[in-house]
Subunit: 179 residues, 6 copies
Amino acid sequence: MRGLLIGRFQPFHLGHLAVVREIRSSRPDAPLLVGIGSAEESFTWQNPFTAGERFEMIQRALAEAKVGGVEVVPIADIQRHALWVRYLEGLLPPFDRVYTNNPLTRLLFERAGYTVELPKLVDRRRYEGVRIRERIAAGRGWAELLPPAVARYLGSVDASSRLRILRAGGARPTRGRAR
Amino acid sequence: MRGLLIGRFQPFHLGHLAVVREIRSSRPDAPLLVGIGSAEESFTWQNPFTAGERFEMIQRALAEAKVGGVEVVPIADIQRHALWVRYLEGLLPPFDRVYTNNPLTRLLFERAGYTVELPKLVDRRRYEGVRIRERIAAGRGWAELLPPAVARYLGSVDASSRLRILRAGGARPTRGRAR
Amino acid sequence: MRGLLIGRFQPFHLGHLAVVREIRSSRPDAPLLVGIGSAEESFTWQNPFTAGERFEMIQRALAEAKVGGVEVVPIADIQRHALWVRYLEGLLPPFDRVYTNNPLTRLLFERAGYTVELPKLVDRRRYEGVRIRERIAAGRGWAELLPPAVARYLGSVDASSRLRILRAGGARPTRGRAR
Amino acid sequence: MRGLLIGRFQPFHLGHLAVVREIRSSRPDAPLLVGIGSAEESFTWQNPFTAGERFEMIQRALAEAKVGGVEVVPIADIQRHALWVRYLEGLLPPFDRVYTNNPLTRLLFERAGYTVELPKLVDRRRYEGVRIRERIAAGRGWAELLPPAVARYLGSVDASSRLRILRAGGARPTRGRAR
Amino acid sequence: MRGLLIGRFQPFHLGHLAVVREIRSSRPDAPLLVGIGSAEESFTWQNPFTAGERFEMIQRALAEAKVGGVEVVPIADIQRHALWVRYLEGLLPPFDRVYTNNPLTRLLFERAGYTVELPKLVDRRRYEGVRIRERIAAGRGWAELLPPAVARYLGSVDASSRLRILRAGGARPTRGRAR
Amino acid sequence: MRGLLIGRFQPFHLGHLAVVREIRSSRPDAPLLVGIGSAEESFTWQNPFTAGERFEMIQRALAEAKVGGVEVVPIADIQRHALWVRYLEGLLPPFDRVYTNNPLTRLLFERAGYTVELPKLVDRRRYEGVRIRERIAAGRGWAELLPPAVARYLGSVDASSRLRILRAGGARPTRGRAR
């Protein structure tokens, strides 16, 4: 049966790719659902890229790395944690194993009876979304932290300008610094 | 680039399969996004099956029919039609062609500049979701309207009982006939 | 442990009272949660009375009938049936038995492993919410279908005028007949 | 102080214009707020035009008819009738008189202590939104029911095609007839 | 008539119990509504326990302390403060006195014409939700701050582990530290 | 065609008035839409005044300053930035120029093809909403930062008390300091 890996992938970096690759090779027969969390958010510092852009990053990276057997699904947040696992069960095809290092995600799935596995993180200090966003905004040494296809894609959507604006600016169009 | 086909697939029947097959063979190089509409609804007469169940039906049917190059994505409704195309653009990876016979869907996408194609419908009178649901609820001659894998799957989740209840019952748990 | 009875109680009538009384006397040691469904709705033909008004009706009727051991809780609808039981589990203190004649409610609770009991309905043709609302709107012979305390209460909030307007008028303030 | 007139104005027709004109001339010193109800809806048969399109119709019609002293405000529905008047009080500058022929609107405002006046309707049978929409969809004799500026505007946005599609089609992009 | 006391009760501690007891004994004839605020939230650091768990805590504590005349009601937040009092009026049976030390709650109710009373707080430094949650997470000396029945209940749901995870972890399943 | 200026106007101060005046005099023939952002919020420190109160401030200030050609529209937030421009296009009559100094607003509108102009800010350090709110709460020297009509209006609604409470208090009625 399928496994499930949920992340926000802002952006999808080499740490994510290593986790997907490891899961896929440890269980070649079980397809992997990759859920794009906070899918409804974009153009914020925490979630600069739309779900569609993140979808595209993931697919390009997996194609480049020749990793198959992955299904990508955008997942909008619901704000009620007590319902979250049930919500995912209704949205996704059956899965029986969840990969996460997030303690809350782990708690919620274990309470619902799922097996939770903790994927080994590769050099967590380097491969962390917020640090990579900082680097992209600052324009220093970020490309080598991403799969080449993702780095090219971020260049094509001018991610640097966007991140610079989002880091400097306000949390909402109507709540900026310069107002 | 990708094409997009949106439906509710309640359930996924042979008419749907024929459309997917035709689109895929007419453009073998362009992957097809299959969006499961009204993904947030289930256990109603209009939408008896969860998005996850519909996802499973589609994947089983495509595997059985050996149709590849399809990506399945659940899509929750937003209630604001004027925003719908933009909403899909934010949720999905880039697509440039939309397949639909729904006049409103066509209107909304054409206003946004998309190419809309009308898939040929195979014997529309037979292959219509609501009629098939009627047949499943009544327990008469429905299996032959579905891909075998879907028919078996519906059997395994006892679709007949569920549809019988939903047809008879109310639209909400708190608004039934028998209260 | 507690039992749970959910209804919309528009209005709370003698049929409801009989059900509550029967449940309470069959299990004198188990408190009964009475959930007021569709609590967010009011001033519509389907749901003319606010949750607060229904709360008041129920408490007055139970006090008058000297029925104790009942806890009343307003319950707003969520629109996702697949999450409904889990939603109630998060909202209410533990319960282990559900009383309902609504087939969908029964289906959802049985799938979640609950014991569902079907309360005996007393003269269903007389004691049905919509028929009683019709009678109140028409001003003919409704008081005898309600607990006396409820009949007095409905008089005090001028339920007849309200129901007459709601039956004649539109479903929303901005969607009436006379516009 | 201001008066308030709420409608959906689908479309803004000569009956609406007569009402606005009469209110303005009866109280030349009191500005009139014209609230566009169901502002969040569009591209449905009940609400084919966006709030912005309706805003534009109203302003063009009033400019053409040289009616001043009107402020137009889009008003999204909230679904809770018991909160509706309070919601409007928070959204709009102070008003003390409400013009409506909708019995529910009248009930809700009178319960909140407002003076409600019933504008005289001019030939209600002719000037009713749904009938005018029918005529536009059918392409027969609708222009004379609208202020000339509105008729021209509707021509420029090709209202006939849109209404023909919405009348024939489904209530949602994912719930059409032809699916 | 009833009084109203609203809190989040994360968890229900001896300070809360003292307030309830004082209110009940000062007005033995007026039932007290205890509203569980932020009822839709759980499994966050601010709101670790579901409304149902908090409901259970309150009832066990009141039974143990032999305090009667209390009705417990979960209350989901609405995000619009200007509507909050009206929202409560629609949800709850009539009340005419509000007990609160929250300045905003007081402001909103006084603007709506209610009598607001400030319950005397017992040793506020000890009995504050967030400090008690800190102690539970750290596993040091928390049981004596709670009614014995609540302390036992929290032990039975393993509150310590949950709070330790929530304090360490992220605000959402998809926004944790370890991702 | 119209221009669009969006702000939260908490409160509407002399810096805002200068911007409106400059826009109006630079393009006397183009009406200006003034959108009140975060219209659904009030009674928070960030957004103390209701949309209706802000509407009233703006109209009084413009009448006093004899600035015409301005249409005021409350605009509720949607939380999805990627849809924001489209949302405004559906809500407002046509506009073709946007005035903003908010970098995110600018980014979103430029991506959608609009001309964005940066209004010159008058002494930004003095005329900033949050600083003015601080001064009002502290009761020191705020009146001279506002149009006289706004200063009088804020006096009439006792803005000082409200702001003092909101600065001290919690973000929600159920999440205050004193609980």
